[in-house]
Symmetry: C2
Subunit: 197 residues, 2 copies
């Protein structure tokens, strides 16, 4: 998605350890118009699949997921990383390991909102090692729901997440695919996975 790649090049910064910082429009400050375009792009990709609900993880997945939900006319559920006062029982839970933070946390969705009839679209802001998306797939399995698609805003294609998700057979769409962040420079792959000059 050209617009998103332009944002990444203009406003993103590369930190040590292959960390791409996009706090200026996605992970801390949010650009609402960009989110609307991203949501529309996801809706366009997944509109034929009979999606009944979108699932994401708090917090940075919420904005793109809500616009995709608006366009697909389905509810959005965000998995919670922490149990809350109103959300502590009757939960589907999965353990998610973060390679960046080097810690395992659990994510939860209330049993009330997922059924075996559901066709889910998973949306997340980043795909690196794939653990968050795999956690959501595990939750979907617990609910006997179908995962019909996975939409990622920014994929770090040089890490193993994309391959792990492709191996599930679920359709994956990443709106920006990053080939490399070496030497603090951002190189993209195109949608088919070819290097972009």
């Amino acid at each position: 998605m050209k617009l998103l790649e332009d944002y990444i090049l203009e406003k993103g910064t590369v930190l040590e350890g292959d960390v791409l910082k996009v706090d200026a429009f996605l992970n801390h400050q949010i650009d609402p118009k960009l989110m609307r375009e991203i949501g529309g792009e996801f809706a366009e990709h997944f509109k034929g699949l009979g999606i009944t609900k979108i699932v994401t993880i708090e917090s940075s997945g919420i904005a793109p997921a809500v616009f995709a939900g608006l366009y697909l006319d389905v509810p959005v559920i965000f998995a919670r990383k922490k149990k809350s006062v109103t959300l502590k029982d009757h939960l589907y839970t999965a353990e998610v390991y973060s390679y960046t933070k080097k810690e395992t946390s659990s994510i939860s969705i209330s049993e009330s909102f997922l059924t075996s009839e559901d066709k889910l679209l998973i949306i997340d802001d980043f795909l690196a090692n794939g653990q968050a998306a795999l956690g959501l797939i595990e939750i979907a399995k617990s609910a006997k729901a179908t995962v019909s698609g996975i939409g990622i805003v920014i994929e770090k294609s040089f890490q193993k997440g994309r391959q792990l998700l492709d191996e599930t057979g679920i359709q994956v769409v990443s709106l920006a695919r990053i080939a490399s962040l070496e030497n603090q420079r951002i190189h993209f792959l195109d949608e088919e996975g070819h290097h972009v000059k």
Copy 2:
């Protein structure tokens, strides 16, 4: 806001300890069309004030804030409850006490995204004791930014938050004002603070 009150009556449930559970459309599952309407309503109320940025707190404030940001054509910043890999230095931070959880947590916004020129609109999902909004006001003060308005989705008017915010002199708009949750029944106030039969 009639539509929101209808959602609360139809899909909300009252738990012990005056907790209103609206996990079906705001705090866990999100209704994107309702969020769009809520964002539009906030934009309508605050459009004349020259708002430059919206600030909210992760996670449930994000969806209504992003639509308000879309309509007001300004960026949205969500304060983080936890420091992240890309957000740990150069932060404005405030301590927020939660009466529900009986714990103090800190919320942070990067110094990069707030300036003394900013006119901020604070948006949050709930107003009860006002500690979250007061924390955001404190962060705004640290940045020497002006808080021009506060938009709340659901206000529990029988708790002290509304009064504390009114005492700051900042304009507060709550889209649903709850007079009482006694005996598991939801009673609303109208916008002027009168009881609704």
